[in-house]
């Protein structure tokens, strides 16, 4: 540092040895022990400390304290708000779950109803069809019986005619009733 103006060789050694030869501003053994500078340092120190104290006490410390308090308040507010929102979310989830369960139950009910309806329709249709089938069957059977009766009559007639022809071919005269009785007897047996 600025050693030029105090560059007096030998003086330093003399000072170190305790030779009290320093004039103001000259190199001394320990400037810290140069009591002539004490009033000056103490004066400026007191001013500095008072100024710093006033700055801190009036402006800086209250401001920082309020900032820290605000931040603590904001943080606790935010935490409370977050807690609130979380509770709301939990509620919403519960409501959603409930709605889901309800919807499922509703769907099951609808499915069961639809099944029952279909079953009913099916039953009606089935019984209808069965009745129709039964009627058709009965009709068919009666027609078959008719046809069969008709066929028997025809057979009988043919048999009578054939029998009469056979008898007349054999040269005998047969009376119609006898032949008829005989054919009747044969058909029954």
């Amino acid at each position: 540092m600025a050693t030029e103006e105090t560059d007096t060789n030998g003086d330093g050694l003399a000072d170190a040895l305790g030779v009290d030869s320093h004039s103001a501003g000259e190199a001394v053994g320990m400037p810290q022990l140069d009591f002539s500078s004490f009033p000056n340092q103490i004066f400026w120190l007191v001013i500095t400390l008072v100024v710093i104290y006033l700055i801190l006490n009036r402006i800086a410390l209250p401001r920082i304290a309020s900032v820290l308090a605000d931040r603590a308040g904001a943080i606790s507010n935010d935490i409370a708000a977050a807690e609130d929102l979380r509770n709301k979310a939990v509620e919403a989830e519960a409501a959603y779950d409930k709605a889901l369960v309800d919807a499922r139950a509703e769907a099951q009910k609808i499915i069961a109803d639809a099944k029952a309806d279909i079953q009913k329709d099916l039953d009606v249709a089935t019984s209808h069809a069965e009745a129709e089938i039964a009627a058709k069957t009965a009709e068919s059977e009666s027609r078959i019986a008719e046809i069969r009766d008709g066929a028997i009559d025809s057979v009988r007639e043919v048999a009578n005619d054939v029998a009469k022809e056979i008898v007349s071919v054999l040269g005998q005269k047969a009376d119609a009733n006898t032949i008829k009785a005989a054919v009747e007897q044969r058909i029954k047996s």
Partner: protein
Amino acid sequence: MAEDAAEGGLNIHPMDQFVVKPLFGGTEVNWYTPTNVTLWMALAVLCVVLLLVVGTRGRAIVPSRIQSVAELAYGFVYKMVEDVTGKDGLKYFPYIMTLFIFIVFSNFLGLLPMAFTTTSHIAVTGVMAMAVFLFVTILGFVKNGAGFLSVFWISAAPLVLRPILALIEVISYFVRPVSHSIRLAGNMMAGHAVIKVFAGFAVVALISPVSIAAISAIYALEVLVSFIQAYVFAILTCVYLRDALHPHH
């Protein structure tokens, strides 16, 4: 200054950096003269204003970097006062903050090249230590009356030993301002003087690499010491304050 004689060609004046000089010429140092003391103390005040006032002017909930540092400093000292002296010590927090912030900025400013370290002067640290000592002693008697004297009477010790311990306690009590001030001034002075001595050796080409490495190392150490000594000064102040507020061990 022994180096002058020993090294011959070397001009090493490690203590010159501590000389109090008038700022505007002349050699007279009156009590009111603006000196390098004034300059560097004013710079310390400026730093305090920049950090703690300008830095916090945003009052931001989410702090800027400099506001974070200001809050950190505030929280650091606040917590120290609270931890050491207890809740009732908090009303003295601005005083301790003043001392701490002044010392820490003076120490760091003193580390700048060409700087003058105000806290390396026993006059400065001595006034602060005496102020703490007187304040704490008066406060102790005001708060506790004669009961403050029980700070010297160690009730935990065996009865026979108590008078001897009381004597030791009294002596150590009155030595407090001395150790309090010399610790800070001595640390700052020694570090700066050592750096200066090594800097003086750096002109010799042969040893200059070693010298420069040593300066770097000691400078790093001094940065640490600057903070630690401010912290020590503040925490000892807190300890003394606790004794005044709660003299019964």
